[in-house]
Symmetry: D3
Subunit: 198 residues, 6 copies
């Protein structure tokens, strides 16, 4: 698995070289690479369509780079892992699983929620959050006023509730793009956050 010839392609579609990219894409990617030490494949796989790339990451950042008292960044990532697992999306489960490990400072939680979130060590509010977000993922017409009441009772604000649904919705898009283009997660993601932060 370590020889160059066996490296799987990044996408079923063309992947531009980094130096060919429009400046704003190149800058954002350089910033991510600085922080992570590598360029996550999804940044490169979507880049042949710069307008869509910009829209996707603008939407992503508006929902994910954000915290509120009831809905932390780690919670947002949990929604991504659970809904992406329901869609069998390897890229999102592995990449956002790594972020869960880092943000929740828990090396096990991402795998636990990806396979069986119902038995995972979560707060009652997190359970409600995941249950309703997942319902929107798998059976969107079944979401009703009763679910909004349950979320509010669990302590989520109106802004939080919007975010919970929107993250589920955004990754319904994201999971399908990753499946369509067959984008694999970078090897680095698999191990991130598993060993004590030295």
């Amino acid at each position: 698995m370590s020889e160059p010839s066996q490296v799987p392609p990044l996408s079923r579609f063309p992947v531009p070289d980094l130096e060919e990219l429009p400046t704003d894409l190149a800058e954002r990617i350089a910033e991510v690479a600085d922080k992570s030490g590598f360029v996550p494949n999804i940044f490169r796989a979507l880049a042949w369509r710069p307008v869509e790339w910009r829209a996707f990451f603008a939407y992503h950042d508006a929902l994910m780079d954000k915290e509120s008292p009831a809905l932390s960044k780690a919670d947002r990532e949990l929604i991504v892992v659970v809904t992406s697992a329901a869609n069998d999306c390897l890229y999102c489960v592995v990449a956002h699983g790594a972020i869960v490990r880092i943000r929740a400072r828990d090396p096990l939680l991402a795998d636990q929620v990806a396979v069986d979130w119902r038995k995972a060590p979560l707060t009652a509010a997190q359970r409600v959050m995941l249950e309703v977000a997942l319902l929107l993922t798998v059976d969107p017409v079944a979401v009703g006023d009763e679910h909004f009441a349950v979320l509010a009772e669990a302590g989520f604000s109106q802004e939080d509730i919007w975010d919970i649904g929107s993250i589920s919705a955004l990754f319904a898009l994201s999971n399908r793009l990753a499946h369509w283009a067959a984008v694999p997660p970078n090897d680095e993601f698999y191990l991130l956050g598993r060993v004590a932060r030295e």
Copy 2:
């Protein structure tokens, strides 16, 4: 059903007045209103989150306001109607059904594909397009290389194929937003394109 007090709300979330909106949103909405004669509810229901609003419509326009020899604007709308029907999304079925009627100059086709696209009067290429787009909607992990081969054989270019999958993916997001916020279609959409263009 026609009395003001019975008008259903536009959203489960706050809906800003048009005059409160940021200039770019207000301008785009005015433009749409000029063209259609009314403001489609989705433009108003997403507007309390301007960053997401901009990302959503930028993404939408990049995929929908576009034509290629094999993938017309009407074809793109057919994908929206069929995948949105699979998600039971009234807003998208009714609003994009109206656009299908107008763009395909066919008063019946939208209803036909929304309920049973397999028996609808479509070309062979349209059938392949809808079958694969719908598979990505309902069972994304099942999409495999064989489906890309079938799309290419049906005459779709690589750019077209990206668009077909991306439209399915974008409306996986859009359908879930409309369900989450419970956005109803404007009454005007139901009748648009049904009667001969006089």
Copy 3:
């Protein structure tokens, strides 16, 4: 779509000319044509089997041409539209959707319940009626005594409850006949009841 050569066939099976039909069929069909202005395709598509035709329409009329204080003719048609939509039956959704528009004097309700009855503007009793009728359509073994209790509490008499289940059951038959023979709705149905009764 308007040229004779493109008219889709009425059925996968033989369709007798109207003048060849047994007198009782011909008379009933003439009566319907007088009232509607056209002969609904299902009347012609089933006619090559007169015994079955008679049984089908006798059953249909016994359940649909009837009203009670709690179960109007429009309510009965709503059951048809919702259960037929679950079975993706274009003929029944379009033809009975037209009847809903006319009987409920509402140009939008049929489309609303066909796509997402749960968010449609219905009474509480109508919701219970549709929920249980739909359960019988999609998962008949799951119907239990508790559903009968809920229907009774919603104000339905024993006769009404029989009718609710029987309409769901009859259209389980009807939807399958229409799919089997591939009977399209008449073009006229699509527009009926959409524009103000002038």
Copy 4:
């Protein structure tokens, strides 16, 4: 199980006494009782609605009391058992299972097809017949022209093919009536045809 007080009710709805029935119903029921030695419960459970009763049995007889070179009476009953098993309908599985045993002169076949028709000892034509009839039962929109081609290749005439689909469709109705009214099979049916015709 043998004490009167434990006899389960014949229906969730009123069951008229035999002597109260309209003459035509009473006569037909007497004829069946003469032949079978008992009155099958479904004849009594539907009898409080004589018009529907007449339609149901007229439809039933038109499809089931009939034979063609490729579609015997036993074959028709096999369709009933297999599709009713898919709907978990005890009445139809047990009552028509008894008829299969008698008509096919095989004490095992009914149980075999009710649980797993794919491994049952059937002819190739019977397999095709059951596969397509069952598809119409469980996923009616999926029936396409290709299934009609397969049925024709297996030797079924156009009349036979109509009957195959219509039997599946009629028992979609019948199974739902039996579930709705909770009609149990008569005890006699369970043993009929299991022991050698002495």
Copy 5:
């Protein structure tokens, strides 16, 4: 069906002659044959793998040859019939259906629960037992603490509850072995326990 040439094979895999078997297998099989009058096919179909045979029957006997005040041998067999019916396993439905008839001294109950256990004449505790055992069969991740509470309230001990789940789990294995090897039930099972024990 009675001619030797039509006897279906006992398995898709090799079936050793009884005289070739290891002594412990041969003895246990002789014992069963003495008691039943025939050798159930599953004993022969698994015998080409003696280690697995021993493990399977040891597990089986530990769970099935056992009684407690709340969980009789007949109850255990009911779990087998209901969960095996959900898996469409003819061998287990027919063979264990025969045992239900004998142990419950009821000629009808096995068929009733195999097709529609919800309407069968069962105690409240039996209903809870079947509902939770079946949930473990068809959707194991959905079993939660609430189901254990319901079982305990219905009077089942901790040991009983373990047995209920383990029987469901063991027949998840058993049903799959029978499907994999295509093992048919012996003809004798179909009639066992149907006629009064004379």
Copy 6:
């Protein structure tokens, strides 16, 4: 997550101390602990039922501690991971995922097949093996002679084919036991085989 009070229980049922166990169980467990450095939780969670424990591990070892030219130990573990992922069984996905990493000397493969085996880097024979094993897991009645033909063509012997189905079947049992008792994987499993064997 690291404080003693937060250690989740090993089971919903009693867990005997190691020193209380029958000698044969204690010896086998000591052997595993020597080799792995810890006692896998499933060995302790099943131990309150020694007869079932012995049967389970005898069955397990007969199928898993074995190799043939076409079906390696790593291949057998791949079947476990893929079928257990379909059953959402955290214990089996994590514990057997660790064994896959070790036996296949690949730190990524287990996660790849657990989430989306279809896009994982596998041989053609492994794909066939997983596809048929998974079909037996999720829809056992659908396995037919054609699947045996495909397995044989892929190079699997009759013995291998038995093993492929039996492993799927055994973990249908194992997954359900782990869900029933709510047995968590040991923390050690999550990291095993992820970092280079130094």
